[in-house]
């Protein structure tokens, strides 16, 4: 059973109510704006809804009309055979959080991954999971079974921040092992050399995979809210650095901005979707924002 700490049912219900699933296409993750090239074997009835002007007449259920003398439209859930890989960074830097009461980046990334996995299972898509730091720590191949979802969620729940970040290596390793085209969703803080990361992502693109990158950053990393002289310890290297934040802040923010720009431009260069997520923002806001963004892209 999935624990509430990882899978936020309220979030899922709210996204469900937004009737996204009917519009998400398998390959583009969003249906409704264009038809999916990965139509599956069966179409499963989902629910009725009252007819409103503009609806297709062919979807009117005439039997129900005969019984109730009212027009109802039949709605279906479509099933695809998309293979989706949730690639979650579990390096030491992902264990950072500025606010003690907030989520670490890894916890936040795990929630995103859990939500997406749940969606995919409901969509009848195959979802797989890979946790990595300098190497692949957990690898679950894409499956459509509900039991597989539990394994994914369980792996996410048990994920702990590990060693240093080496994003490119595990990604290349994963790319080499994939035989079937699918969707790669990388959830990471990308605190590595952007050129190497983009090179690894390009590896997926060469193989025909679609790539979505969620860059998860803590609000403390984005705003650098420190005010007093502080000795910082690098979570990954353990190196200590004495900083006078007031003088350092402009330098830091400038460097961060350049880094984020490099990540975003690199992703755009290989036609991968990129979204930066702030762990201080509600999860559903981040997902909604992404889905909206994805739907506009077509």
């Amino acid at each position: 059973m999935v624990t509430p700490s990882i899978l936020d049912y309220n979030v899922l219900a709210r996204i469900d109510s937004m009737q996204m699933l009917a519009k998400v296409v398998v390959e583009g993750f969003v249906l409704g704006l264009h038809r999916s090239p990965y139509r599956g074997f069966s179409v499963e009835f989902a629910e009725y809804r009252q007819y409103s002007p503009g609806d297709e007449v062919k979807h009117v259920d005439w039997k129900v009309y005969g019984k109730t003398d009212r027009y109802y439209i039949k709605q279906f859930e479509e099933e695809t055979n998309l293979a989706c890989y949730l690639v979650v960074d579990a390096s030491a830097s992902m264990g950072y959080r500025f606010a003690p009461e907030g989520l670490t980046k890894l916890q936040y990334a795990s929630q995103i991954a859990a939500c997406l996995a749940y969606f995919m299972m409901r969509q009848r898509d195959a979802a797989g999971l890979m946790l990595f730091d300098t190497k692949i720590r957990t690898a679950l191949p894409p499956r459509m079974r509900q039991t597989h979802l539990k394994r994914i969620l369980s792996a996410l729940e048990q994920a702990q921040p590990g060693g240093e970040t080496d994003i490119a290596g595990p990604l290349h390793q994963l790319a080499e092992g994939l035989k079937r085209k699918g969707l790669i969703i990388l959830i990471s803080d990308l605190l590595d050399d952007p050129a190497k990361i983009i090179s690894a992502l390009q590896h997926f693109r060469f193989q025909g995979h679609e790539v979505i990158v969620f860059q998860v950053l803590d609000n403390g990393e984005l705003t650098f809210p420190f005010t007093t002289m502080t000795e910082f310890t690098d979570l990954e290297t353990g190196r200590k650095t004495m900083i006078s934040p007031e003088g350092m802040k402009p330098i830091y923010l400038k460097e961060l901005r350049q880094f984020l720009d490099a990540c975003e431009k690199g992703c755009a260069g290989i036609h991968a979707d990129y979204k930066m997520l702030d762990t201080s923002k509600p999860l559903e806001v981040a997902l909604s924002e992404y889905l909206y963004r994805r739907s506009r892209l077509g």
Binding site: K105, L235, S244, G247, Y252, F259
Partner: protein, 680 residues
């Protein structure tokens, strides 16, 4: 070499610890935190921290400097020349002999002892190796012989020493000797003081300076051969100038008996023009004083030289006080009325004339004229001119008034209803103490219809007689109308009306004085003439305006006596001096003009304080001015605290200003760096 006038302020240098301490207490407390990555600040962090540490260090240094400079500024630094920098000669011993030639040294045996001791002081020096100087003092010290190696010249000057009549001033003499030795390069620096060390001659020492540490003082006290001390005058007073008014004048002396025995029936004699006029006898207990007062009517115009002498017995030379009560004839007062009338009470001059000359004994010779009839000759003959409600005068008459004031006369303005402001201001612009603006009707806040005189300057000679209780109430006169004044900036306001406007003003014009009362003596304007203070006020005013031309008759030994151009001066010994010079011997000095006619008689007195034989212990003087070895440099050094400080304030004031400017620059730098220095 830098010295400090107020070296104790250097203790404030300990305040340098304050910015260091504050920095230590307020320094950044380093927090520790983990962060996801250090990749974004690795490059700049060290530089930022280094800059911050450097700026903080620089800031501490700046603040410490500010505190240090502040302490130095308050310590009043000045540059002092090193000893011997300007020394013309080197000597084994530099000795300054300070000889007391004051009046107290005239006592029996002391002049000879003085010479003997002075010669002995020079004899003990080595000719050609040591150098010496001679200072003699009777009042202000004078250098008879500067520092030099020619001892023969110094000895000759010592042989010429003679006691004068001036007062003893030991502190100034020692200070002078210390200044002579300052900067001298010598193995030994000495000051030898030869005096009877009267206590009153040491009272001027306030303990605010000491001699330099390398200066040794030797005191040679002298005691008179005769032990008996006659009673002597210690204080005296006599009128210098008088008006011939038939009133008796007071002459007083205070006689002291400094001996240890009672003085019985000592004769105190008043002599006038060389003849004994009156003798009183007093008995004085040992150490006590007695006052003797004479009253005499000086009824002879001109000089009235006299003396009051105290002699204990026949054949003894007593203590004498000389005076010259120069009696002026009746003061010629010209009263001009601008509103003559057959009705006496309507005449502007009626009340004034009655007050000036109430009877035959008046000290004023009054002449009353209508303003339009006055001539320049009549003004030239007057000492004081009163303009009673006179609005304007012919130009020649105004010129005569100007001449009158330039020679010391006085003009008294009493503007009233007959005066027009524009005409008055135009006519008397160069004479009156102010201009007139308009006539005001009194509207005091009390609801009455008249103002009183307020804020009277009781220190002014005119009003000082009213200052004591029950000596005339100047608030009694009520003024219903008065002139408002303008252009009073250069005038002295002696009294004001209740509304604050000037009521009585004066202004010096040349040697004379112009005075004005802003309300005419008129029943419609005020009731001043009906008040009892009117007559004394008017008399005091006229005396003040007239006597300003009076010449001083009393002088002290050492004062330079004025002499008319081309005239001569005959001293008490009968010697004739062709030029003005300092009086030495007490007595009468007669000045003659260039025609050989007697011009003036000066009464010269010695210093009466010299009669007090009480002596101060030489050890007391020595302990007071000699610096103990190891005593703080510059603290009370004569050289550093007196002349050097005064010189420093002029010559080395630049150093102080440099420090002040430096402080300003440092403060601004501190502000700039402080604002730029990161606090976190």
């Amino acid at each position: 070499m830098i010295s400090f006038a107020n070296p104790y302020f250097l203790l404030a240098l300990a305040g340098i610890a304050a910015p260091v301490l504050i920095h230590y207490l307020m320094r950044d407390h380093i927090k520790r935190a983990v962060f996801s990555t250090a990749r974004f600040f690795n490059r700049g962090a060290t530089v930022v921290i280094r800059h911050k540490k450097f700026r903080e260090l620089f800031l501490i240094v700046l603040r410490c400097l500010v505190v240090a400079i502040l302490a130095c500024i308050f310590a009043r630094p000045f540059l002092r020349q090193k000893s011997g920098v300007n020394t013309p000669v080197e000597a084994g011993t530099a000795r300054v002999v300070v000889a007391d030639v004051s009046g107290s040294m005239r006592r029996e045996g002391l002049p000879e002892a003085l010479k003997k001791e002075a010669l002995a002081a020079f004899d003990s020096l080595k000719q050609g190796e040591d150098e010496a100087a001679l200072i003699a003092f009777a009042g202000a010290p004078g250098v008879r012989e500067p520092l030099g190696k020619d001892l023969a010249e110094r000895k000759e000057a010592a042989r010429a020493l003679a006691a004068g009549y001036g007062g003893t001033n030991l502190p100034d003499a020692l200070r002078k000797a210390g200044e002579l030795l300052r900067g001298i390069r010598a193995a030994h620096k000495e000051i030898v003081v030869i005096s009877d060390f009267p206590r009153q001659g040491w009272r001027g020492y306030k303990g605010d300076w000491k001699l330099a540490e390398d200066v040794k003082v030797t005191l040679r006290p002298l005691r008179p051969a005769a032990t008996r001390v006659s009673p002597c005058i210690v204080e005296a007073s006599a009128p210098g100038s008088l008006v011939l008014d038939g009133q008796p004048s007071s002459l007083a002396v205070r006689v002291a008996n400094f001996s240890g025995e009672p003085c019985k029936d000592a004769a105190v004699t008043l002599a006038l023009k060389g003849r004994e006029a009156e003798t009183q006898r007093v008995s004085i207990r040992p150490g006590g004083t007695a006052s003797v007062r004479f009253r005499h009517v000086f009824d002879t115009p001109g000089d009235n030289p006299g003396s009051i002498s105290v002699g204990a017995g026949a054949g003894e030379k007593g203590s004498v006080f000389y005076f010259n009560a120069r009696t002026l004839p009746r003061i010629p007062v010209l009263l001009l009325t601008g509103r003559p009338s057959a009705n006496p009470q309507a005449d502007a001059a009626f009340f004034i004339g009655k007050a000036i000359a109430p009877g035959e004994e008046s000290p004023f010779a009054l002449k009353v004229l209508a303003a339009e009839k006055v001539t320049s000759q009549e003004i030239a003959a007057a000492s004081v001119v009163i303009l009673a409600d006179v609005g304007e005068l012919p130009a020649p008459v105004i010129g005569s008034l100007t001449t009158l004031m330039q020679r010391g006369g006085g003009v008294f303005f009493l503007p009233g209803a007959n005066v027009k402001a524009e005409a008055f201001n135009a006519a008397f612009e160069s004479l009156a103490p102010c201009k007139l603006r308009q006539v005001l009707a009194a509207r005091p806040a009390s609801g009455e219809s008249a103002e009183s005189l307020m804020r009277v300057d009781f220190e002014h000679p005119v009003f000082e007689v009213f200052s004591a209780p029950h000596h005339g109430d100047l608030t009694l006169p009520k003024f219903a109308k008065y002139w408002e004044t303008t252009d009073t900036q250069l005038s002295r306001v002696l009294a004001r009306f209740g509304d604050g406007r000037p009521a009585i003003l004066e202004r010096e014009r040349g040697k004379g004085v112009a005075m004005a009362m802003m309300s005419a003596v008129d029943a419609d304007w005020n009731d001043f003439a009906y008040q009892s203070v009117f007559l004394p006020y008017l008399h005091q005013t006229l005396r003040y305006l007239a006597v300003r031309g009076g010449q001083r008759t009393a002088y002290s030994s050492g004062d330079v006596l004025p002499l008319p151009e081309g005239g001569t001066l005959k001293d008490p010994a009968g010697r004739v001096h062709p030029a003005a010079e300092a009086a030495v011997e007490p007595g009468f000095y007669n000045a003659t003009n260039k025609n050989g006619e007697p011009d003036f008689c000066y009464a010269v007195n010695g210093n009466f304080a010299e009669g007090d034989p009480a002596a101060v212990a030489p050890e007391e003087i020595k302990a007071a001015i000699e610096r103990v070895p190891g005593e703080a440099e510059g603290g009370f050094d004569l050289a550093t605290t007196t002349a050097a400080v005064r010189e420093g304030q002029t010559k080395d004031g630049g150093l102080w200003w440099v420090l002040l400017c430096g402080l300003l620059v440092l403060t601004m730098a501190e502000l700039a760096v402080g604002n730029k220095t990161l606090r976190h």
